[in-house]
């Protein structure tokens, strides 16, 4: 889920239309007001995200989210249940208690408190340390009893490569991305700690107290927590994220007792960071092709990084498990 904050920020809220967005708007409105009249300001009502894997409509203090079509019911319930666990109340934003709202067509719907996202125009002010502490706490929390699905980060990297191959098999950068992917494909660590599965700066909001919490449990589950650090690690390795910001993030993670770093963090991070580099590059190729444009400057940087991954693969691969 990406909370872009379009409605409130631009002062021009998008009026939810029919279909999924309309259903979400109605669900959120009813959850806030019941049958009463709505006196919410226009800035507090609107569409926050509208993607196939997550549509989000805000109404005042709540948001309604439609998850991806075809979301597996059991795994989905386990993930939402994870966000409701009291021992994770300081880490994950909990869902609104009560019966689950009706599906929007073939998409399950959930209700959450609205939280203020990180300002996308001011990434320097991003709460890197708070994010690292939340991830460390999540990774340190013993998984609850009962079935919990695998976290989906490795699967999402593979899906991104598949999407690139379908959308842009002849793109000049596709071969480079694939060569980097071959250094990653099929590797697994066998670890089974609690993981977010899709961490980036859009996955943080302030709750009603002003404390940062992680949102979007759609990819959460058991796995190797190094994958949750892999996206910032990939940005740093690509030369996009300044070294001091990366050091702050990793330092805060280690200070909070996070299990995925240690004395030689790249022994754990190398493989997932290569996978996230490939994923980002593959999605850039697919999206830029769909939008009939060339790669932008930072997308080019990710392709260059894929080329270095492919040419460095003769070096011995780091151990996949500690």
């Amino acid at each position: 889920m990406e909370l872009k904050g379009t409605g409130a920020r631009d002062g021009a809220p998008q009026e939810p239309a029919d279909g999924v967005l309309g259903a979400l708007a109605e669900t959120a409105r009813r959850a806030v007001h019941g049958g009463e009249a709505c006196r919410c300001g226009p800035g507090a009502v609107g569409v926050l995200a509208d993607r196939e894997d997550g549509a989000v409509v805000r109404h005042g203090g709540l948001v309604a989210k439609a998850h991806a079509a075809g979301t597996e019911a059991g795994a989905h319930a386990a993930r939402v249940g994870l966000a409701a666990r009291p021992e994770l109340a300081g880490v994950l934003l909990p869902p609104v208690p009560g019966p689950r709202p009706a599906d929007a067509g073939d998409r399950p719907v959930t209700l959450w408190p609205y939280g203020t996202p990180v300002d996308p125009d001011d990434p320097d002010a991003a709460p890197w340390e708070a994010a690292a502490r939340l991830l460390a706490l999540l990774h340190r929390t013993p998984p609850p009893a009962g079935p919990l699905p695998a976290m989906r980060a490795p699967e999402k990297a593979a899906l991104a490569v598949g999407r690139m191959l379908r959308a842009a098999p002849d793109h000049p950068a596709a071969a480079t991305v694939l060569a980097a992917w071959r250094t990653v494909e099929g590797a697994g660590s066998g670890r089974a700690e609690l993981c977010h599965g899709d961490f980036h700066l859009g996955q943080l909001v302030r709750d009603f107290r002003g404390d940062w919490r992680l949102i979007d449990v759609d990819d959460a589950g058991l796995g190797d927590p190094a994958w949750d650090l892999a996206r910032p690690a990939a940005w740093f390795a690509a030369g996009l994220l300044p070294g001091d910001v990366w050091a702050r993030f990793l330092g805060a993670y280690e200070e909070a007792g996070g299990p995925a770093a240690g004395a030689d963090p790249w022994a754990r991070l190398d493989l997932p960071a290569r996978a996230l580099t490939v994923q980002t590059a593959a999605l850039a190729v697919a999206k830029s092709t769909a939008e009939r444009r060339g790669l932008d400057e930072v997308e080019d940087v990710m392709i260059d990084t894929c080329a270095r991954i492919a040419s460095a693969r003769t070096a011995p691969a780091p151990a996949a498990s500690p």
Partner: protein
């Protein structure tokens, strides 16, 4: 010791562990064997950031993988809109 140039008395100073004889008359300086090298070393340390105390290593560049960007990286990009978007998307 007398100054070889003006024959005034020379006084010994200790500058950062290097013994320096300076003439009280013409202010000329006499260096023993190895002292010029010692001073040169001190000078280069002065220009570099001060050596960190062992207990608090001042921030060295963080470790990076073999395939990482060449030293210095592309940091000029990090404020670009493209990277801003990348920070917030799956």
């Amino acid at each position: 010791m007398q100054c070889p140039k003006c024959h005034a008395a020379m006084h010994t100073y200790n500058r950062n562990g290097v013994q320096i004889e300076q003439c009280s008359g013409c202010r000329g300086i006499f260096l023993d064997y190895g002292e010029l090298e010692a001073l040169t070393r001190l000078e280069s340390q002065w220009q570099a950031p001060p050596a960190p105390p062992a207990a608090y290593p001042a921030q060295p560049a963080p470790a990076a993988p073999a395939w990482g960007a060449p030293h210095g990286g592309h940091h000029g990009h990090h404020r670009s809109r493209g990277f801003g978007r990348m920070l917030f998307s799956s």
